[in-house]
């Protein structure tokens, strides 16, 4: 018995397309999931998240590679003999069965004693806030309620591993937050490992022990939420998680400082404390998160960037300042709401000088997306 609940070894899967050719959904993925871990998969639509889950549950047969669950090689094992339960992206509730029969299905298959079964169905429904709805049919429930039935159905057999494919996507904000807490509690109580797919960054950052960012069938980075946010390994991860300002350019390195010189004439200073230390002349992209900018007063000493303000958005806690540099490069800065007066002044001036701490600038190897894509994350 290994310490990993799931191990993927060079998992590869390509689908044949009806119009000819193939699409590679999994590109030789290696993945170890710890026991009791809450692992989140994050990535753009079509990057292979569902395929990855299905490779573990057995609905997708790998072209190459191995799947181990709890130390056993299950690569050749059919889905019904794998100790895994799934919350499907489209719920997949049985339309001809009542909510109670849906939730109790796994126990019925396992021929659990009637009394225990009913009691467990009741408490599973209670847990997802649907107590007393046993006799409804799935189509008599709202989308969010159906999603919670799917959740109750998947946890009732207490699997070692639960795969959740966007299980909270149909819920409103309050319910979603309540369910997030329930899921975390459940995971801790039952000692189940979770592999959780979501499109919601905040959810991914707050819930996970580790975060795996996928793109085009490859894991781009897998680490704790903090590390992924603060030290993304490449520009894709940086722009996918959180909002980011990316400055791609050439490294100028001297004994005193490291700067990235961009083609449009900006010099971004980086302290390079920890992380990647590129040599002089290397291609690199500097990342500055919007919240790392500050309004630079008259006597500012650190490096600054001047921008023309296009728009200021007040979100309650913060101001989002959208603007561009003299060369037209888009910049986003987030300023705490207590700087109300200074922001108002900057808005009146139509321009503002933003300061940043070189220690907070993170350098990435140069595979940056086009400059105008760099701030796309802000909208999310």
């Amino acid at each position: 018995m290994g310490e990993h609940i799931v191990q993927l070894e060079r998992a590869t899967k390509a689908f044949a397309l009806p119009e000819g050719g193939t699409i590679t959904a999994l590109h030789g993925i290696d993945l170890d999931v710890e026991r009791n871990e809450f692992l989140t998969l994050l990535g753009p639509s079509g990057c292979g998240k569902t395929t990855l889950l299905h490779a573990i549950s057995g609905f997708v047969q790998l072209d190459a590679g191995k799947v181990r669950i709890d130390g056993d090689d299950v690569t050749e094992r059919p889905p019904h003999r794998r100790p895994v339960n799934t919350v499907f992206q489209n719920y997949a509730l049985f339309p001809h069965m009542s909510v109670g029969s849906n939730v109790g299905y796994a126990l019925d298959i396992a021929r659990t004693d009637r009394k225990e079964r009913n009691q467990r169905v009741g408490s599973a429904l209670e847990l997802v806030g649907l107590g007393g709805l046993e006799n409804r049919l799935p189509r008599q429930l709202s989308g969010g309620q159906q999603q919670r039935v799917a959740l109750a159905r998947a946890i009732i057999a207490r699997p070692k591993l639960l795969l959740l494919d966007e299980p909270l996507s149909a819920l409103d904000r309050n319910l979603r937050q309540a369910m997030q807490i329930e899921l975390k509690t459940l995971q801790a109580e039952l000692g189940i490992s979770f592999i959780f797919v979501t499109h919601d960054q905040e959810e991914a950052l707050t819930m996970s022990d580790r975060l795996a960012v996928l793109n085009k069938g490859l894991i781009q980075q897998i680490d704790t939420p903090r590390t992924v946010y603060d030290r993304p390994t490449n520009a894709f991860v940086a722009s996918f998680i959180g909002a980011s300002n990316l400055f791609e350019g050439t490294v100028r390195r001297s004994s005193a400082s490291t700067t990235v010189a961009t083609a449009d004439g900006l010099q971004i200073e980086a302290a390079c404390a920890g992380g990647w230390k590129p040599g002089d002349g290397a291609a690199a992209t500097a990342l500055i998160r919007p919240e790392q900018f500050a309004l630079a007063g008259a006597g500012a000493t650190g490096p600054t960037i001047e921008i023309a303000i296009e728009q200021v958005v007040f979100t309650g806690l913060t101001f989002q300042i959208h603007g561009h540099t003299a060369s037209g490069r888009k910049i986003v800065a987030i300023i705490a709401a207590i700087r109300r007066a200074d922001v108002a002044q900057a808005e009146k001036d139509g321009k503002v000088r933003l300061g940043y701490d070189p220690a907070a600038v993170h350098l990435l190897p140069d595979d940056a997306p086009a400059a105008n894509e760099a701030v796309a994350g802000v909208a999310a």
């Binding site: 889905p79 799934t86 001809h96 159905r153």
Partner: protein, 276 residues
């Protein structure tokens, strides 16, 4: 402008009335005249009577012997019995075979699957006359004596297609991920089939069976060819009556068949609404 619009509306309304009159008037007349007392001229209303119904069921009535076509109620009941026997067998056989075929084509991929599907559609498109003659030649050539057995076998040859198509349509609307969900929760293939696929296919199976039953009861052309001389089904019997002139009992028989069809169709709709 407004008046032109009005003309259009009135025109459409009139057209609709005419259309439905054309479809339903003959049927309404048949039902109405099945209660007409005049024994000679059907179109001449001369009072209300149940006599034609009494006559069909062999009850006492006031109709003079020579006004009647049915020489014995025996004949009529015999034809009805034949029709019901045939329909019972063909419905059962066609439902089992059609459903099994539909499930097999839904579940498995095999070489020539598309071709197979086309072959299953073909009997529905084939002209009845051609199918009737072909079956007749086949049975005679094979040395099978014509009778109930050949009717059953012959009708099954195209009823299977009807059931297959109805059940297939039902299966096509089914969500494949439900099978995944079932397997995910620990059910093997057989359990998944029994608890997930079959219950959902059921409305299609019942619909297909009812359709097969009605078509079997109703079939004249093909059955006529393969029934032989001694065996009469209800449609063949009625057709025979018509050749000797239209008599009032036919109205009563037609009305009863109409009622029966309604009952079967309602049953079908009831199952549909219940099993979604």
């Amino acid at each position: 402008m407004g008046s032109l619009r009005n003309v259009g509306v009135v025109g459409l309304f009139g057209y609709t009335i005419l259309f439905f009159t054309f479809i339903y008037l003959p049927i309404v007349l048949i039902v109405a005249y099945s209660f007409n007392a005049d024994p000679i001229n059907m179109m001449n209303w001369s009072g209300f009577t149940f006599d034609w119904y009494r006559q069909i069921f062999g009850l006492k009535n006031t109709v003079s012997e020579n006004a009647l076509y049915i020489e014995s109620t025996e004949q009529l009941l015999n034809a009805l019995r034949n029709s019901l026997t045939v329909a019972a067998f063909t419905t059962t056989i066609a439902t089992v075979l059609g459903t099994a075929t539909a499930l097999a084509l839904y579940r498995f991929n095999f070489l020539g699957k598309k071709f197979y599907r086309v072959l299953l559609f073909a009997p529905m498109l084939m002209p009845d006359i051609v199918l009737g003659i072909a079956l007749l030649i086949f049975f005679v050539g094979a040395g099978v004596s014509l009778g109930l057995k050949t009717i059953i076998a012959g009708q099954c040859s195209f009823l299977v297609s009807y059931v297959f198509i109805v059940v297939s349509a039902r299966l096509a609307g089914m969500d494949r991920s439900l099978e995944n969900a079932s397997a995910d929760l620990g059910a093997d293939e057989w359990t998944t089939f029994r608890r997930i696929i079959l219950p959902q296919a059921m409305p299609g199976v019942i619909g297909g069976a009812l359709l097969a039953f009605i078509i079997s009861m109703d079939d004249l052309v093909i059955t006529y060819f393969i029934s032989g001389v001694d065996t009469q089904t209800l449609p063949i019997f009625i057709f025979g009556m018509l050749r000797r002139g239209i008599k009032p009992e036919i109205n009563a028989i037609a009305t009863l068949m109409l009622l029966f069809s309604f009952a079967v169709a309602s049953l079908g709709l009831y199952f549909r609404s219940r099993r979604g």
